[in-house]
Symmetry: C2
Subunit: 234 residues, 2 copies
């Protein structure tokens, strides 16, 4: 194993809760739509609209909010009231303002890793919201830096590592998303560590076969990361 010159930590659902807040809003959305829609699988319709809109709208709350409005319009056959649409927008605003809720062990672990290693928070999506959460968390004062990718694909990781003059074999990335944190890093020859979260957005999951073709490790909690890295090095 190469020397570790940089550890990247994902943020949403790795350092703090995120998906749970989206799930809560989705539940309220489905409830609201009860009186408008006979779509038996509205959850799936919303999810499919979200994914269709990703290409144009990208990730994040504003994108999700616009997808809910579009889904509401279509599913209600154009009958949803303007005040219910305003309600959906207010949920979006709430999502953008929910306080940072750390997952267990995060603060101690990030502090301890940062003493020994060069640690960056690496996340993706909405520049303003991601940055606000990082600053609110206070972790930006502990880690060496943070970076917000437009997409966590192999190219973005490579560009980022090139900028810091670090080779992939000296890079470790840990996070909850196989699609974003694990597979692209394994693909470029970095060391990827999966920290599963009970709630992970469906889009971030990948089929077992593509994951199993790839080499990465799994730790149950971020608290296990320092020991895992220490053992790997030996």
């Amino acid at each position: 194993m190469g020397e570790i010159k940089l550890i990247g930590l994902d943020a949403d659902d790795t350092l703090w809760e995120s998906e749970i807040y989206f799930a809560q809003v989705e539940e309220k959305f489905l409830e609201l739509m009860d009186k408008y829609s006979s779509d038996g699988d509205l959850e799936k319709t919303l999810s499919s609209n979200e994914i269709t809109n990703l290409r144009l709208f990208g990730y994040g709350v504003k994108s999700f909010t616009l997808s809910m409005i579009e889904t509401a319009h279509i599913a209600s056959k154009g009958t949803i009231s303007s005040s219910d649409i305003e309600l959906i927008i207010s949920w979006g605003k709430e999502l953008l303002q929910h306080p940072v809720t750390f997952l267990e062990g995060v603060e101690e672990t990030v502090r301890s890793l940062s003493k020994e290693y060069n640690v960056f928070i690496i996340t993706k999506g909405d520049l303003l919201h991601q940055r606000s959460k990082i600053e609110e968390s206070g972790l930006d004062t502990i880690v060496a830096g943070f970076e917000i990718f437009h997409e966590k694909d192999p190219e973005s990781y490579l560009d980022f590592l090139n900028g810091l003059d670090i080779k992939p074999e000296n890079f470790v990335m840990a996070g909850n998303s196989l699609r974003s944190d694990v597979l692209p890093v394994a693909a470029i020859g970095g060391r990827a560590i999966h920290i599963p979260h009970d709630l992970t957005w469906d889009y971030e999951k990948v089929a077992d076969q593509s994951a199993s073709a790839s080499s990465y490790s799994i730790v149950e909690s971020i608290s296990d990361l320092p020991q895992h890295l220490a053992q790997e090095i030996r």
Copy 2:
């Protein structure tokens, strides 16, 4: 004058048209709202909602789209139809897809500046949309790099320059916005060049007195930039 080690070029309304597309959508919006609203100054109401929402939504098309929907809801007293809201969202999608339209002289000037200097495109706002435009323009293959700030304030410029190990006195920034491209750069001791554009978003303008307290130069067109820089050095 210090040696020029980096030239930053703003993108929207400096390299290519942007505000004109927002203005066209705003015109369609005001027309649509005619049948719903008696607000004599709906343009001002929309603009004020946009600015209120900046803190949470940030810059860009998605933010603008959500602000139009909110303004439509309020101005119509809750009577706007769901299909008209869908129409507003479709305008947002159009805005995200309009082709890059260079301002006059941009390609030649960027090419010529890049031969002599280290040139970066420095823009702000929506990560995905800004990046898409930069890539579509092809200018990313000519310049040394690009950076998308969450906000063009003195701190962001300083962080960026620190990362490249460049002192403000060796930095030149050129762009159409006094608020974003000129004043913050002048404030940190960089050299700011204003390239006015006929259409500039009101929010990017600043009162004359704050601008006049600051030291910067003005060129009429980006085509004049190489000669302006050459003369300054002499």
